[in-house]
Symmetry: C2
């Protein structure tokens, strides 16, 4: 490995360094951090950057690993770089005659704004200040810089509460009878410095250091240490940044925006990060240092004003903006300072932006010839597209907390805005919806019996459960806004009310939930519908909107680039149609169990479950057949010419029988059995661990009546459509397979039934019979299974549950968050595929499966199919398609495109 | 592959064929079946065997796969072999002048006694019978043979109920006014043949075939078909025999034991299969055919009588017995016939025997110089050792005939003590056993249809039959106590009772049978430990018993041969001590959860669970500490100098809290909380799938108080023992690990506590900290885990549950039996390791683990650790040890020895 240095001057040859790093599979910013790399690159490009040098991230890691000790030789290297810097600038750190002042800033590979620490004006001391004041003739500026330095050093390096120093300034302002910082006199500021130093001495029992090298090394240590402060760790967890990257430290010549009216400081984007509009966007403060802008203490002027005030500077800045966009192929977020009429760039980085801006900027940059189509695709984080598709609360209204009091914040399980009257049961939700009312279904948690109620509600709100609880999954599947796990909300079903934030909310009162933020508000907060969906559905006004037009230009690029198919998980014709509008190539998972909860169906289904002989069972199944045929007819018709994978019954039978005595009584009367008999049957079917029980294909083997009926309904519906001139492509999927023999038995009778129905109707019909791969053992014996199946579809929800031994109902709310906090896992495996464990099983399944059956089609229909990192993983291990909820289809399309661009196959 | 024929004459060169097969990795009996191979080998060795030929097992498989069609060319090959047979014997099939009669019998690789079908006297027809009668002058014999042939052909080949034919004989007996078969006149038997043929015609609407080739091919078809009859399938399932082996068919010249007083038939063992005594053991029936012995219809004479009746024959037979033992290196189970004073061997095979006999015979054969020590080890099926360790009737109680009246004494067919409620049908036995009842199956005689009932019963009691009757053979094979031939016992199935010693015993009453002595007692006689265990514990009388002496000679051979360690799963000092006596090298799993259920402990544990703050929790833990220390002190002391693996708490916390309101009230009072609060806590801890919930190391991470207390107790106990001069070797085992971070956290605090306690007490103590591997993910990331653990212990119970997605509680009773019946699995994966799935994960775990940590110790502590096939698997994949329940330790030792002999490592 080529030897790397610990310190790099900004003006060193970056091309050479990049080449060295490339050989190690690293980028410049891996070593120098994002900020350092950009300062070096700008300097190399001749853009005005105050001179400086960067201490590498590797050094930070060595420091951390050594328990907070500088590695050998670091001090010498720093001093060597410092001397070179002094030569460049002709100034010397701590030299009263010609003092060099520097800033010391952290800068990790990934931007972590405001998370780590900075010290400015380092090198300041009594003598330096006095000499500077004499030379510049601006005493006020010098003592202001000094008092800022003492405060930052005390805070950042020594951990003294910043407020203690603020109080010194406040005290002086009181003495001078002024209110604004800028009104304090030079003598006043000098007094502030004295006060601050006293405070420092009192707190630490030592004098404020005057040796500039001592100041410097102490600050470097503090910045390295700040990599592991609580805020930084929390930020990395939230943003899935690895903890072992370390931060670089940038030591840079100070320039001053507070040198008078011809000085100032600004923060700007090369384009508008909210709308994507091509305009320099940002703030500028005259006679101020950078922190004043960020801190929001003084109200800055819009950057466009600068054009009027200092047109040459603005001109120069504009030119730099253009050069930077060209160089970085992306929108830049910059900090700059004007010192006595001279422009200095202090920082640049790719700008964060909203979804709308991201799409618009990507398309515009392409149109401007700055980037390729593939680069444009890489500029939009797939997850962000979500924002564009869900209805949103009107931003103004949601801020109005007098009208819409905030009640609580829960887990943001399914994005979107929903407002409606509170109901506490699925039945009430259905009834109210039938009356045309909007409702929000509020439950401790939901269960399959609530499905119709959930479908009827605008949104779902629960007091327990996590991001993959029943409510969350079904919510996302249905595209319903959903907030779960609101533990601060106490529901009292008996009283028909819940309490949150000391507010009693009764049934029938309006609440508004924001599934993107997890916020719950009282009242009917107005919403705006997504123009994209309206447009896709044919609304002409919506089609004129910018968001629609950019979206519809951008998304086809994703389809051109990707090699991975994108299907959808949809159980109804309506969902299926929406998914097609959003770009789904077919249905990867249509669940059938919800179909049995209809009013006429459930009793027949229950009769089938409790039948005592084959005759009764067959009779009940015969009753259900027309309903199922109708369900499948609807979906297959909506998906004409597209494959539709229909999964046979998955959950255990007890989910369909009532638990409580009253409902059991009803069922008893309905079936002519005694309530005691029903109770016995329910108890007999009860399971200690239903997740690992008698369900899926296990029912198909031991209780084939249901599956036989479902298969018959599928093929009757398909054949009928065929006769009517449609082109249905049904694919039967058998869940919970772990042993090849299970599949063999079910496949055999399914094929028999299919052939029988096809022969009877005399049509020609292509179909497939395949299996879910969701039991760990299925991955281990995938070669056996592949020989009797047409396709695999990874059910990563259950596969994750069994591979980890995690019942998500039981672990998500309970200890998964603690596991993330304690760094045991980086992210819940239910959110993003656990590539080391579950992923290894998947890879094994793919390899063994394809070896045994070259024609095998392989996809994924777990919820991970709509999560970008998981989509990328699926692409890499060679899946044919991912399948996800309709609203996640665009996300998956874009993620698939990015995966192909980064890992071509 | 060398071309194999479909038919082999017994006198063909077997050495040549064996060589050919060896090249394919096959044995003679793979191709010719056990019976066929032995007939050929005996013929090759010059032992008198009636000439014949064998159709191969491969042919059967071809037949089955072709849906019951003969493969091309088979008929010609059969006819060719038949012609050669006719040349050898000088007789011709169907030739009235010099008729050849043959038997047609199935013969699979593994003996399946009575499971498949046989037809005797094939080639018989009117003209043949008349000519034979003329030549032999024994009309009675000829017509008896003919009527048997018609019956067997009708039954076996055409599926007519055998009873229909029996009725023909009964009718003739009635007409002739006789009661015994042997009293029927020759004319009467001829009339029986006529009646049977009428019955045949009535049932089938076709005449009984007279063409002998047609008879032959139909019979061969039927025998091939019998491979897949229900009884055969059930037998294979019970005995874990593959379903794809097929059966051979043996066509052999008939010899007749029913040719008069100088004829007869016998079944014999070269040694006593019940006791192992070196004596020819068996039954002989004068003037009878073989089936009469096995069916137990007539009570035969002991074979020793033959020495008096026909000393030359007995002499010849003795000599053959000796030659066969030398040739096969094992005890032989033979069938023979004497036809007009000439001895013919019809069959030989390795004899099934009781555990006692197996051990004694193995040791004796070694002492006699017939076999090596390793061969001796291979002669005892490990599972059988179970029988030797089973309880026996308490000697005092069995003498107490007032309480336990002696009913009768029968033939001691299979040793062991069994007590249970009387049932009279196999179905009742199965049903009662499913309810958890102990039953004794009482029958006139048993037949292959009773197999499942026999397996379900504690013991078997029959009123007829001898030592080689069906009940006796199967009883010994299953290790079930069995008393047969209790002629003084009169069974009345209709009344549901039997009478013996003037005592009426009704269905449902308890009887106790002693299979070693043949005694039958009324009531549920209490049992005591086996002589082996008593002897190991120091009982001198027990040490004088033959079983103890042979056991203690045999078992050390196993230890000399094996490379796999054997540990035990024991939670108490008593269990641990017993396990050491039985050969355990240490404790592989001491569970700690049961320890919390003590009267004083549970409340403290519950207080810890429901504690609202750290203080309360620590206080409760402190209260528990002395109890746990005492527990660990006891076990570590009992296992001085041996490693003791103590598993930290495994189950979820809710298992320790009461479910029902009354107990919750008690807990509320105990803890000063309200009943409602307790209910809330219990509900809050309740889990949908506790198997996949908040348990094991997940508690150790989120709720470390318990683990910290347990670890402290372990090390305090160990250090105390060390101070007292003992040498405890504690090993802490962390369960449910799936992510390396879990282990890191727990290991870190455990080591801290260990070092703290060790330092405080000032002793030196070696210890290990390791982990269960029971979560599928743990196998997938075993390389990561191996770096922070001293040992792996496969928890194959949970690993099987999660790999299959099978909750044992929910699937074992429910659909696993159906899966076995439907051939989806061969055996429950909870009984024997699923080598294709779970085993693959284990192999991966071993490989990754050892790669990352060469010093890693790997064992298994799931229940599979005591099951022979699983032990062999563990040996093959390179585990260091298996750990099992104390009584299974000897089984594991022997299985490990056999594994090493067959797969040296």
């Amino acid at each position: 490995m080529a030897q790397l240095k610990r310190c790099y001057l900004f003006n060193e040859d970056m091309a050479a360094l990049q080449k060295k790093l490339e050989a190690q599979g690293r980028e410049l910013r891996d070593l120098l951090g994002g900020k350092g790399a950009n300062l070096c690159l700008m300097t190399n490009a001749g853009i005005p950057v105050p001179p400086g040098f960067t201490i590498t991230t590797d050094t930070c890691i060595d420091f951390v690993e050594a328990g907070g000790q500088f590695p050998d030789g670091l001090e010498d290297e720093v001093l060597d770089s410092l001397h070179k810097l002094e030569e460049q600038t002709g100034k010397r750190l701590g030299d009263a005659d010609n003092p060099l002042l520097v800033s010391v800033r952290s800068g990790a590979k990934f931007s972590m704004p405001g998370m780590m620490d900075t010290v400015l004006n380092l090198g300041m001391r009594e003598e330096v200040a006095e000499e500077m004041a004499r030379v510049t003739g601006d005493e006020r500026f010098v003592w202001d810089a000094y008092r800022r330095f003492v405060m930052m050093f005390g805070d950042v390096v020594k951990g003294i509460d910043r407020e203690v120093f603020e109080d010194c300034l406040t005290e002086v302002k009181r003495l001078e009878g002024v209110t604004e910082d800028i009104e304090v006199s030079a003598a006043g500021l000098r007094a502030v410095v004295e006060l601050e130093k006293q405070v420092y001495e009192e707190q630490l029992g030592e004098e404020f250091p005057v040796d500039p090298q001592e100041q410097l090394f102490a600050t470097i240590r503090a910045v390295f240490g700040s990599w592991n402060n609580d805020r930084a760790i929390a930020y990395r967890e939230l943003n899935r940044i690895a903890h072992d990257l370390g931060t670089a430290v940038n030591i840079q010549t100070m320039v001053f925006g507070n040198m008078g009216e011809d000085s100032g400081t600004g923060v700007a984007f090369t384009r508008n990060p909210a709308t994507g509009k091509k305009e320099i966007y940002g703030d500028y403060l005259v006679n101020a240092q950078g922190e004043d802008v960020v801190a929001g203490i003084r109200t800055p002027m819009a950057i466009s004003e600068l054009d009027k005030k200092m047109p040459e500077i603005y001109q120069e800045f504009s030119g730099i903006c253009e050069r930077l966009e060209k160089f970085y192929h992306d929108v830049q977020d910059m900090e700059f300072t004007v010192e006595n009429g001279k422009l200095w760039m202090l920082q640049t980085r790719n700008g964060k932006r909203t979804a709308l801006a991201a799409v618009k900027i990507a398309v515009d940059l392409f149109d401007e010839g700055l980037i390729t189509q593939e680069e444009a695709l890489m500029l939009v984080p797939p997850q962000q597209l979500d924002q564009l598709l869900h209805p949103q609360f009107d931003p103004a209204a949601r801020e109005d907390s007098a009208t819409y009091p905030h009640l609580t914040v829960g887990v943001n399980a399914s994005p979107g805005a929903a407002a409606g009257k509170v109901v506490f049961t699925a039945e009430e939700a259905v009834a109210a919806a039938e009356e045309g009312e909007r409702v929000v279904l509020v439950r401790h948690e939901t269960s399959p019996e609530d499905i119709r109620g959930m479908a009827a509600a605008e949104g779902i709100l629960t007091s327990t459960g996590g991001k993959t609880s029943h409510a969350a999954i079904v919510g996302r599947m249905m595209g319903k806004p959903c907030v779960v796990g609101c533990s601060a909300m106490v529901i009292d079903y008996d009283k028909g009310q819940f309490v949150a934030a000391d507010q009693v909310v009764a049934e029938g009162e309006f609440v508004s939930i924001d599934g993107a933020s997890g916020e719950v508000m009282l009242g009917d907060v107005p919403t705006t519908e997504s123009d994209i969906i309206l447009g896709l559905k044919g609304d002409e006004a919506a089609q004129q909107t910018e968001v629609y037009q950019y979206y519809t230009r951008f998304m086809p690029w994703a389809d051109e680039s990707r090699s991975l198919g994108v299907q959808t998980n949809a159980d109804t014709p309506g969902d299926a149609e929406l998914a097609v509008l959003l770009g789904a190539g077919g249905i990867g998972l249509a669940r059938t169990e919800h179909m049995f909860f209809g009013e006429e169906r459930l009793p027949a289904f229950q009769r089938m479950v409790i039948a005592e002989n084959a005759e009764e069972r067959e009779a009940a199944a015969a009753e259900l057949l027309p309903y199922q045929r109708e369900d499948f007819y609807g979906i297959l018709k909506a998906m004409d010419n597209k494959p539709v994978i229909i999964r046979l019954l998955d959950p255990p039978l007890h989910e369909f029988l009532p638990d409580d005595p009253e409902d059991q009584q009803v069922l008893a009367e309905l079936t002519g059995k005694s309530a005691a008999e029903i109770e016995d049957i329910v108890e007999g079917l009860d399971e200690a661990n239903p997740m690992l029980g008698h369900r899926g294909c296990r029912l198909g083997v031991t209780f084939p009546t249901i599956y036989r009926m479902q298969v018959r309904a599928i093929f009757q519906a398909a054949c009928q459509l065929k006769q009517e001139g449609y082109n249905p492509i049904p694919e039967v999927m058998i869940p919970v397979v772990g042993i090849v023999g299970e599949l063999e038995i079910i496949r055999e009778y399914s094929e028999q039934i299919a052939e029988e129905v096809i022969t009877q109707t005399g049509v020609e019909l292509e179909y497939k019979i395949g299996t879910m791969i969701e039991i760990p053992r299925a991955c281990l014996v995938a070669d056996e299974i592949a020989q009797v199946t047409d396709f695999f579809s990874f059910g990563t929800n259950d596969l994750t549950q069994m591979t980890f031994g995690f019942s998500r109902d039981d672990v998500e709310g309970k200890f998964i968050p603690a596991y993330v906090t304690q760094h045991i896992i980086a992210v819940s495996p239910f959110e993003s595929i656990d590539q080391d464990g579950v992923g290894k099983l998947m890879e094994m399944g793919v390899k063994l499966g394809r070896q045994a059956n070259a024609a095998l089609e392989i996809g994924i229909c777990g919820e991970h199919g709509g999560e970008p990192a998981s989509v990328e993983f699926c692409h890499r291990i060679g899946l044919d398609y991912v399948s996800c909820a309709p609203l996640r289809v665009p996300i998956a399309r874009l993620a698939a495109a990015q995966a192909q661009i980064e890992h071509p196959r």
